[in-house]
Symmetry: D2
Subunit: 424 residues, 4 copies
C-alpha cells in the first residue's frame, strides 16, 4: 500500500488549547510525531527567555509545530481541496513541511546562533536530509521526498504556493504563534479571526491570496502581529535575560579558548566552542542540558561566569535605559571607561541591545530581503496588494521601528556615583 496515502485505523486527536483539537489521520504524520527528533522539540521553549517576563510562556516548540501542521491541514483539507489551482499531490508535502519547519531550533536559538555562528534553518535541513528517524519516515514516501520537504522549508521549492503556506507575511507559522503565544502569556493581543482568514484563502500559482471580503480579518492579523512584537517578543525584560544568556555563552567560550579548566568538563559544548557542531552534538543539546551546565557553573572559579549564571538561574536581571546609538556614542564610551575603572568588565556588564521590526511591507524588488506582499482577490478577479486597499495597513507599511536599550546590572553599579548619574 502507498505509505503516503495510508490512513490510521482511527483518527488520532490531540487536545490543543488554541485550535481545540489537532487531528491526525495520516500514518506519515503520526510516524513523524513519534520520531525522537520531533519529540526533542518538547524540550525547547517556543519563546526562549520570555517565561522570565510572562510566567505563562512556558510552552514548547512541540506545541507550536503541531499547531502549524493543523492550520495547514485545515487549509488543504477544507479550503483548497477540489479547487483547480490546487494540486492535491502537494498536500502531504505541505503537511510535512508545516510540521517540521522548526525542527532545527535549538535551545535559546537566538543567543546560540549569535555566539556560535549557527543557523537553525541549516540544522532543520540537516535533520530532514541526514541520518535521522525523521529522514527514515520521509524517505519511505519516496527517495526525493526529504529533499522536497527541505526545499519548502528553505523557500526554494518550485511551487511558490506551497512555500507561501509556511513562509510569507501571513502564513500558518505566524498565525499559529501569534495566537499560541497570546494564549500562554495571557495578553489580550494576538486575537484575530483565523477561521475567517482560512475561509477566504485561495490558491494561486505563486502564492496564497485572500478574498477581498476577508480584508478586515487580515488587517486585524497585521495589527495583532504588530502588538505582539512590541508587547511580548521585544519586551525589554525578556531581552535583558537574553543579554545575560548570550554573555554566559560568550564567557564560557572565551574561557575555553583561554585554556581555562572547568571543574566539570562541558562535554556538550566542546564542538560549539570550536564552531564545528555535528548534527549528533546539536541534537543532544536542549534547554535541560543547557540549564544543567548553567547550574554546575555556579560552582566554577571564574567570577564572571558564576555571576552571570546565578543571574540567569535566579532571575536577577539587568536594568535598562533607553539608548540612542546615533547621539549617545560618547556616553557609551565614557560609561565603558567608568565600568573598567570600577572593575566591572563592560564586555559583559554594559550591553546595547537593539530590536527592530517591519510589521508589513509591500514588494520592493531587488532589495535584500524580498518580502512577498499580501494580495487581495477582488470581486472582479483582479489581485491588489493589501496596503492599497487598507488605510490602516498602508499607514504602517514599510515603516521599520527600531528600539535600542542599554543594559547593566543595577546592583553592581550601585555606589558608583558617576556611573549612576549617567545611567539615570
Amino acid at each position: 500500500m502507498d505509505y503516503s496515502a495510508e490512513k490510521l485505523h482511527e483518527e488520532k486527536v490531540f487536545k490543543d488549547p488554541v485550535h481545540r483539537y489537532i487531528h491526525v489521520q495520516d500514518r506519515v504524520i503520526w510516524d513523524l510525531i513519534g520520531t525522537k527528533e520531533f519529540q526533542r522539540l518538547r524540550r525547547i521553549k517556543q519563546l526562549g527567555t520570555t517565561f522570565l517576563t510572562f510566567h505563562g510562556a512556558e510552552h514548547s516548540r512541540f506545541n507550536h509545530s503541531l499547531g502549524v501542521y493543523e492550520i495547514v491541514r485545515r487549509i488543504t483539507d477544507t479550503v483548497f481541496v477540489g479547487r483547480p489551482e490546487w494540486d492535491q499531490e502537494e498536500r502531504m508535502l505541505s503537511l510535512c513541511a508545516a510540521l517540521l519547519h522548526d525542527l532545527g531550533h535549538g535551545p535559546y536559538s537566538h543567543s546560540f546562533e549569535k555566539v556560535f555562528d549557527l543557523d537553525h534553518e541549516d540544522f532543520t535541513k540537516a535533520i530532514v536530509l541526514g541520518d535521522t528517524e525523521v529522514n527514515q519516515v520521509l524517505s519511505r514516501i519516496s527517495a526525493d521526498f526529504p529533499k522536497k520537504v527541505a526545499e519548502v522549508i528553505d523557500k526554494t521549492y518550485e511551487s511558490k504556493l506551497v512555500v507561501s503556506l509556511i513562509s510569507s507575511q501571513i502564513d500558518a507559522d505566524r498565525m499559529d504563534y501569534l495566537q499560541r503565544d497570546a494564549y500562554y502569556t495571557g495578553v489580550s493581543y494576538g486575537h484575530f479571526d483565523m477561521e475567517r482568514i482560512l475561509r477566504v484563502m485561495r490558491p494561486r500559482e505563486d502564492q496564497v491570496v485572500f478574498k477581498q471580503s476577508g480584508m478586515h480579518a487580515v488587517e486585524d492579523y497585521i495589527m495583532s502581529r504588530y502588538q505582539m512584537y512590541w508587547q511580548v517578543y521585544f519586551h525589554p525584560v525578556t531581552r535583558s535575560a537574553e543579554v545575560i544568556l548570550t554573555k554566559i555563552l560568550h564567557r564560557a567560550k572565551h574561557l575555553h579558548e583561554q585554556g581555562y579548566s572547568f571543574k566539570h568538563k562541558p562535554h556538550h559544548f566542546y564542538s560549539f566552542f570550536k564552531e564545528e557542531v555535528t548534527l549528533e552534538d546539536y541534537l543532544k543539546l536542549d534547554e535541560g542540558i543547557v540549564q544543567y551546565y548553567f547550574q554546575i557553573w555556579l560552582e566554577e572559579e571564574d567570577d564572571v561566569l558564576r555571576d552571570l549564571c546565578a543571574r540567569f538561574i535566579n532571575r536577577n536581571l539587568y536594568k535598562y535605559v533607553e539608548f540612542d546609538p546615533a547621539k549617545e556614542y560618547k556616553k557609551l564610551t565614557k560609561l565603558s571607561k567608568l565600568f573598567e575603572k570600577a572593575g566591572i568588565d563592560p564586555e559583559y556588564y554594559l550591553v546595547v541591545d537593539s530590536s527592530s521590526d517591519l510589521p508589513y511591507d509591500f514588494y520592493r524588488p531587488g532589495e535584500e530581503e524580498e518580502r512577498l506582499p499580501i494580495h487581495l482577490l477582488m470581486k472582479n478577479g483582479e489581485l491588489r496588494e493589501l496596503s492599497r486597499e487598507s488605510d490602516i495597513v498602508d499607514s504602517i507599511s514599510g515603516k521599520r521601528r527600531t528600539d535600542h536599550k542599554l543594559y547593566y546590572p543595577a546592583d553592581l553599579v550601585a555606589g558608583h556615583e558617576e556611573i549612576c548619574e549617567l545611567l539615570d
Copy 2:
C-alpha cells in the same frame, strides 16, 4: 518601618492567563518571589509527566504558586477585610503560606517520593525553616514567623480558619490548579464561577464557610474537580509515563547499590540513592537536571536503564489493559513468569498502577484522614454540611473510585504469543 507592613512604591503586576493579573503590593511578597528557592519552582512542572498526554500542560509550579497567592489575596483584601471574624493580622501569614505552600516540591515528586522515600511537605518546612533566602525574608518579619508559616502549611497552626484557606476540600490551592490545569491542557472541564465562590466566602472560627446562595457554584467546583481527576490527572497515558519514570529511578538506585560503575558519575543522585538527602542537595535537583541524567544514561551499558530512559525521553510509552487485582492475581503471576521466560524483566516491564479518588467527603470523625467537610451558611445563620443540601454532591459523597491498570511495553512483548493473548 515595619517590614511586614511595607508597601512597594508602585504595585507590581504579573500578567496571568488564569486570573488576568496577579497583584503584588507588599514588599515581603515581592522579596519572596525573588528568592532563588522560589525561582526554582520555574524548573518544576505543575503536572509532572502530563505534558506527554496533554501537550499544553507544560506550566510550572511557579505559575500555580503565584495563582494560589492571588486567590488568597483577593479573599483577604476584598472579602474578609473588615469582618469581625477575621483577624487582619493573619493576612500576611496567609499570603506567605499560600505563596510558599508548594516550595518543597521536587521534580516529578510523585515518583521521587515513592522511590526515595521522601516527602515534599518535609522539604517545604525545611526550606521555610532552614538556611535559605526564603527563611531570611520571613525572619525579617519576626523570629517566629517562619515557624508560623510552616505550621499553616503543615495544618497544625492554631487558627484553623487560616489553615482552611490553603488546605481544605475547597481551598485556594485547588481552586487555582483546577482552573490553571484546565487552561493549559485545553480541556473544557475545570470551569466554575470562582468569582462567585470568593464572594460568598465567610470567615468562621474553625474554617471558611460559604453562603448558601452560592451553593451551585460550589457544586460546580466539586464536579469540575471530579472530572479533572479522571480526565486529566489520572489519565492512563500520563500514568504510563510515570510508571517508566519510577522504574528508571528504581533501576538507577539498584545499579548503584549493586556497585555498577556509571560512565558519568551521577553526583546529583548519590544522596538520593543513599536516602540521606540534604536540603542543599534537594534544592539542586530540578527537571532539567533529571533530564540531563536520563539523556546521558542513554549511553550507559545497562540495557534496562538505557531502554527505560529512551522510552521516557522519546515518548515510547507502555501500553495498558484494565486489571482487577482481586480477580486477576493469578493472571499476573502467570504473566510474570512468561515475561521472565521471554527475558523481559517483569520487575521493570510489567507494572500494576492504581489511582484512586474520593471527590468529596462529609466528616467521618476518628477516621485516618479526617477531611473537613464544606459548610454552607444558611440564611438563618445556621451551618449545614454541603451534601445535606446538594442532591448532586450527596450522590457522590464518600464514594471512593479506584482504577487499576496493568502496564507493559507492547513492542517488547510482540511476537510472544502467550503473553499477547493474556494481555489482549
Copy 3:
C-alpha cells in the same frame, strides 16, 4: 435541476457567537430562512421572561433555530456522511426539521399555552403544512416533504435516528440552547465539549449513540443541563414575572368574557379569548404586539389589569416564599381568606408556582413519557445505557426534583400584619 440538491453560488455565513459561524450552502435552507414565518422568530425571545432576571438573555428563537440547524449540519456533513448506517437522503430532511423545530412558538409560549389552551407544536405543524411561505419552499422539494418534516418534529417519523437528532435526551436542540443561554446570560454553567460529543456520535438504526471514549463529555453535558435548569430556567425571579404575565392574560380573558369594554379594542386577542385561534391570527402575534397591549392597558379602567401590566412593564415583581403543598395547604387557605379580607384578590395576587425537572432518565417502558436513554457504544460493539457506566449520571438518574413557591406582591400586603406574619 433538483431543488433539494441545489447549492448556493457562494456559501453564506452568519456570524454566531456560540458556533462562531453558521454555514449555509443549500438553496432550500437559504430560502427557508428568508420566509416571513421564520423571520418572525426574531420577535420572540428564546427565554421569555428570563431577561428580567438575567439582563443578557434578550436573544431570540431565530438565533437558537440557526444554531440547531448548524449542529445538525455538522453532524450530517462531517460525522455521519459516508457511514453505512446513515442514509444521506435523510440529510435535507434533518436540516429542515432542525431549522424549523421551534417555528410554532409564540410570545411567552408557556403562559399563552396555559391560559388559552394552545400547543406550540400544533402550530409548528400547522405552519409547515399550511398556506405559508415555509410550506411553499418545502413543497418544491416534493409534495410529501412538508409532511415528513412535520413528522420528524412530531417524533412520529419512521426513522427514529433522524428523530433522535432533534429530540432526545441529548440532541442538537438541547446542545444549542444550553450553550447559547449560558452565553447570553453570562453564567458559567452550560459549557461542555460539544466538538468532542459530535465526534463520537455514531448513527444506529433507532437512534444516535456515543462512542464510549466520549462518555465524560456526555456526563459534563448532563451536569450542564442540570445546573442550567435550576440556576437559569427555573430561577424564582423569572417565574415571578411569568406568574404576573399569566395573570394578565387571565384577567384580560376574564374581562372580555364579562363583557368589559376595553378602551382600545384588543383585536389581536379576540380569537385567543375565544380559544378559536387561526393560524393567521397566531402568526400575527409576537412579543412586540403583546407588549403594545400591555402598555395601552396601563390606561384601562380595570384596576387589576392595570396594576398587573404596570408590574410587568416596569418590573415590579412578586416576592416569594418556599411552599410545601403537602403540608401547608391550610396556610394557603388561611392566606387566601386574609387576602380577600384585605381587598387583594387572591386569584391574581396569591399564586403557587411549581417547577420540576428530571435531569436524566433511563428507559422505563410503558410509562407515560417514554424517554429514550443515552446509549454508549462500547469498544466491543455492544451498547450500554449511560447510567450503567457513569457513576455520576447514575446518581441523579430518574430522580425528579420539584420546587414549589408561593408568590405575592410585597408592596400590597405591607401593613397587613396577619398576612405578613404568615408569609415571613
Copy 4:
C-alpha cells in the same frame, strides 16, 4: 440618614456576560434602576437594526447602561479613591450620569431623529429634570442634583474630569459598548485589555489621563474602535435596513400631512408627525410599539407604506452599489428619471446613504467639534498627546473615512434593463 450615602443591606449583583458581575451597593443606584424610565431601556435595542445583519445583536440599552455604570464604579472605587486629584464627593454624580447617559434614547434613534427632527440628548435632560421617577430619586439627594447630572451628560459640568469619564475619546461609554457589541455580535474585534486601561487611569484637573506604561492597551482600544465602526456599526446591510426604516417614517408622516386616513389611527405617532413631541409621548414609544404599527400598516391601502413595512418586518432589504457623489451625480439623476419612468418612486426606492468616521483626533482648537485628545502621563510627570507617542495611532489620527452607497430594491428593478445596467 443621608440618602446619597445610604448602602443596601446587602450588595446586589447582576450577572453580566461582559463584566462578569455588576455590583450595586448604593441605595440611589438601586432605586434608579427600578424606575420605569430606566426599565424602558430594556425595550430599545442597543444597536437598532444591526440584529438584521448580526443576529446576535439583540441586546438592549438597559444592558449597556448597567455596563457603563459598572466601569465608572470600578474607576471611582478602585482606581481614583484616595488620590488627591479626585474629589470623592463627585463619585455619586459620576455613577448616576454613567447609568443615565442614554436614558433619552428612543427606538431606532438615528432614523427617528432624522425624520422628526429630534435629539435624544434633549430627552435625556428632559427625563432627568422633568416630572419622572428618575427625577424623584435624584432630587432626594439634593434639589440641584438632577441639574448636575444633566450637566455632566451635556458636557457642561464644571469638572471636566467628571465629564471625561463619560464623554471623551476613551470613556466608560465607549469601552462598554465596544466590548458588549463585540460580545453579542460574536465578532473577534472589540477586544482590548480594559482591566489594564482602568489601572493606568489617573485623575487630572481637566480630564482623565493614562500612565504611559499602558499606552499599548490604549492603542489596542483605538484599533478595536476603528474595526468595530467599519465591520459592525457601518455594515452596509444594517444601513439598508435603516434606509428602509427611515423611509417608512417619512412615508407615514407624508401620508398624515396629505390627510391620508389610516385604517388604525396611529395615536402614538401624532405628536411626532407634528414635531411637537411631549416627554410623555416620547416615553410611550419603544421598539415594540413601533413594530406594532409597522405590522398593522401591512394592511394599509398605501402601496409604498405597505411595501416598505413588509420589507422591514420580513427582512427583504435593499441591495447596494458603491457610489461616488462627486463623480456620479449625473448617473444618480439619470437613475432617478428611469425609476420614475418605471413607476418606482425614487424618493423611497433610490437612496444614497453615507457613513463617516474619524477614529481618533488630536486637538484642533477652534474647530466645530473640539475633541479632547487622549493624554499620556509620562514617567517624568509630563503629559503627551497619544498620537505623538504612538506610531500606529498617529497613522490614523485626524483621517476621516467616508463611505457612500446607493440603495435600491433589486426585486422591483429586475426586468428594467436600463436601470439594471446602470446599477451593475
